[in-house]
C-alpha cells in the first residue's frame, strides 16, 4: 500500500507512531484519489523532529502534538502557514478486564494497583491524563499507582498484557475492539489533544506534498479519522504559536 503508482508523484510523510493505522488508510485513499503515492515513515514525534532537524528527507510531518510542528515552523524547517490540526484525539480509560471500568470511579477502586499512562512530559495523551486526574481529584492515587509508557502505545501494551489493570489510552487504540471495559473521558476534563501537521521545507517544491496535506482535511480522510477514534476539526489552518 506504500507503493508508488506509476505516473504520479510521491510524497514522503513522517508519521507519529500512534497514528500508524489511520495514516495507512488515509495514504491508500490518497493514492486512489490523486494518483500520487505516499511513503510513510513511523516514529515517535520527538525522534522524527530530531531527524527533520538533521535533514531527513521528509516532506510532510504528521505529529502527535502541536508543539513540534510549531517548533518546526519557528525554526524555519516548515513552510510558514502550512500548519494545521489534522486530528483531535480522544482519551479513554480502558481495562482489559470486562466490567472493571464503568466510569471515573474505577480509579478509586482500592484494589487497583497499576494505572498506565503515556509520559505526560512527552505525549499529549499523558498530559491529558494528568489533567483528568486533577479534575477528578485523584492526583494522589495516580501518582502512587502510575506506570508510565514512553508513549501511548506502550501504555496500551501495559494494559493489554494485563500488567496494569487500567490505563489512560487513546480511543484510537481500542476503538475497534469490543472486549474489555472502558470509559470515554469527556473532553471537558482535559485540554484538547490536537495532532498537527505541517508542510516541511523539503516538500515545498513537491505539489504532491501540498495535495497530501489538503487531503487530510477532505471528507474521505475525516471519515477514516472518525472511524479510528479521532475527532476531525475543520480544515482551517491554526494561527501561529502553540502551547
Amino acid at each position: 500500500s506504500a507503493g508508488t503508482p506509476s505516473g504520479g508523484a510521491t510524497v514522503r510523510v513522517a508519521v507519529a507512531a500512534n497514528f500508524t493505522a489511520a495514516a495507512r488508510e488515509i495514504a491508500a485513499a490518497f493514492e486512489d484519489a490523486t494518483g500520487d503515492g505516499a511513503l510513510l515513515s513511523f516514529g515517535s514525534t520527538g525522534q522524527l523532529y530530531a531527524q527533520i532537524l538533521q535533514g531527513a528527507p521528509f516532506e510532510v510531518f504528521l505529529a502527535a502534538d502541536e508543539m513540534r510542528p510549531g517548533l518546526a515552523e519557528r525554526e524555519g524547517l516548515a513552510v510558514p502557514g502550512s500548519r494545521r490540526t489534522y486530528a483531535v484525539g480522544r482519551l479513554v480509560l480502558f481495562s482489559a478486564e470486562a466490567g472493571r471500568v464503568t466510569g471515573p470511579d474505577a480509579l478509586r477502586d482500592p484494589g487497583l494497583r497499576r494505572i498506565a499512562l503515556a509520559n505526560p512530559a512527552l505525549a499529549p495523551y499523558g498530559r491529558a491524563a494528568l489533567e483528568v486526574a486533577r479534575a477528578l481529584g485523584v492526583e494522589d492515587i495516580l501518582r502512587d499507582r502510575q506506570v508510565i509508557g514512553q508513549n501511548v502505545s506502550q501504555a496500551h501494551q501495559f494494559v493489554r498484557t494485563g500488567n496494569a489493570e487500567v490505563g489512560f489510552l487513546a480511543l484510537a487504540q481500542v476503538v475497534r475492539s469490543a472486549d474489555g471495559s472502558r470509559w470515554l473521558v469527556p473532553e471537558r476534563l482535559h485540554g484538547p489533544i490536537r495532532q498537527q501537521a505541517v508542510l516541511l521545507e523539503a516538500g515545498r517544491q513537491n505539489p504532491a506534498a501540498a495535495r497530501f496535506l489538503d487531503f487530510l482535511g477532505s471528507r474521505a480522510a475525516r471519515k477514516i479519522l472518525r472511524r479510528h477514534g479521532y475527532r476531525a476539526e475543520p480544515p482551517a489552518p491554526h494561527g501561529p504559536g502553540g502551547p
Binding site: 520527538g46 512527552l122 506506570v147 514512553q150 501495559f158 494485563g162 500488567n163
Partner: protein, 226 residues
C-alpha cells in the same frame, strides 16, 4: 535539572547494572563452562539459543517479556507469591529482562577463555585429587579470569545502556524503574539538550573509568617472553 531528579536514576542504574552483572556471571559462567567442555552433539544449538534474544528488537523482546512477566505468565505466578500482580514494573523484573538480553555477551568471552584453558591444567588438577568442582574454582576460573572480567564488563556496559527492554517492562517509575538511559532519552525527547549532553557525558566518563579500571585487572600472569 536538580539533584533530586538526577541522582535516583543514577543510583538505580548502578544498582541494576551491578545486580545484573552478578547474576550474569553466576548464570553465564556455568553455561559457558558447559559449552566449553561438553561433548554434547548439539551444544552449538544451545549456544545459539543463548544468543537468540539478541536478534529480536529490544522493544519486541520487551513486549514478549511483558507477557511472560505479566499476570498470565510465569512471572505473574511468582509475583502472586509475594502478593503482587506482575513482575513487570519492579526491580526484579528489570533484572530478569537485563539478564536475558545481556547473557550472550557474558557467556561468549567466558566460554572462549574456558576453551583456551584447555584440558591439561584440569587433568593435572585431577591427578592432584582435585574434584571437578574444586578444579573448576581453583584452576579453571583463575586461568579464565580475563574472560570472566571481559564478560562482566560487557554485561555491565550493555545493561547500563539497555533501553528498549527496560522501557518496555519498567514503566518509568521514578526511584523504582526509571534508569539513567530512560532519563536521558526523556531529556532528548523534550529537547532539553543541555541536560541530555551533561548526563550522557557523565555516563560516558563514569563508564569509561569503570570499564578501563576493570579491564586493567586482567593483568597478565608472571611471564617471560618465551
Amino acid at each position: 535539572m536538580n539533584a533530586e531528579t538526577i541522582w535516583p536514576p543514577i543510583r538505580l542504574t548502578l544498582e541494576l547494572a551491578g545486580v545484573t552483572t552478578v547474576f550474569l556471571l553466576l548464570l553465564g559462567t556455568p553455561i559457558a563452562w558447559w559449552l566449553a567442555r561438553t561433548r554434547f552433539r548439539f551444544k552449538e544449538a544451545v549456544a545459539a539459543l543463548v544468543a537468540l534474544p539478541l536478534v529480536l528488537p529490544p522493544t519486541v523482546l520487551g513486549f514478549y517479556l511483558l507477557i511472560a512477566l505479566g499476570p498470565d505468565g510465569p512471572g505473574g505466578f511468582v509475583a502472586r507469591l509475594f502478593g503482587e500482580r506482575s513482575l513487570a514494573f519492579s526491580f526484579p523484573g528489570l533484572v530478569i529482562g537485563s539478564i536475558l538480553y545481556s547473557l550472550p555477551f557474558t557467556v561468549q568471552p567466558i566460554r572462549g577463555a574456558f576453551e583456551a584453558v584447555g584440558d591439561r591444567p584440569l587433568e593435572a588438577a585431577a591427578t592432584l585429587r582435585a574434584s571437578p568442582w574444586d578444579a573448576f574454582w581453583t584452576v579453571a576460573v583463575p586461568l579464565a579470569r580475563p574472560g570472566l572480567i571481559a564478560g562482566g564488563v560487557l554485561g555491565f556496559a550493555h545493561t547500563v545502556g539497555e533501553f528498549g527492554v527496560i522501557l518496555m517492562i519498567g514503566g518509568n517509575i521514578p526511584g523504582a524503574t526509571r534508569v539513567l538511559s530512560i532519563a536521558i532519552y526523556d531529556h532528548v525527547e523534550l529537547m532539553e539538550w543541555g541536560t541530555a549532553h551533561l548526563l550522557s557525558g557523565s555516563l560516558l566518563v563514569f563508564s569509561f573509568v569503570v570499564v578501563a579500571v576493570t579491564l586493567s585487572l586482567q593483568k597478565k600472569m608472571g611471564g617471560r617472553d618465551r
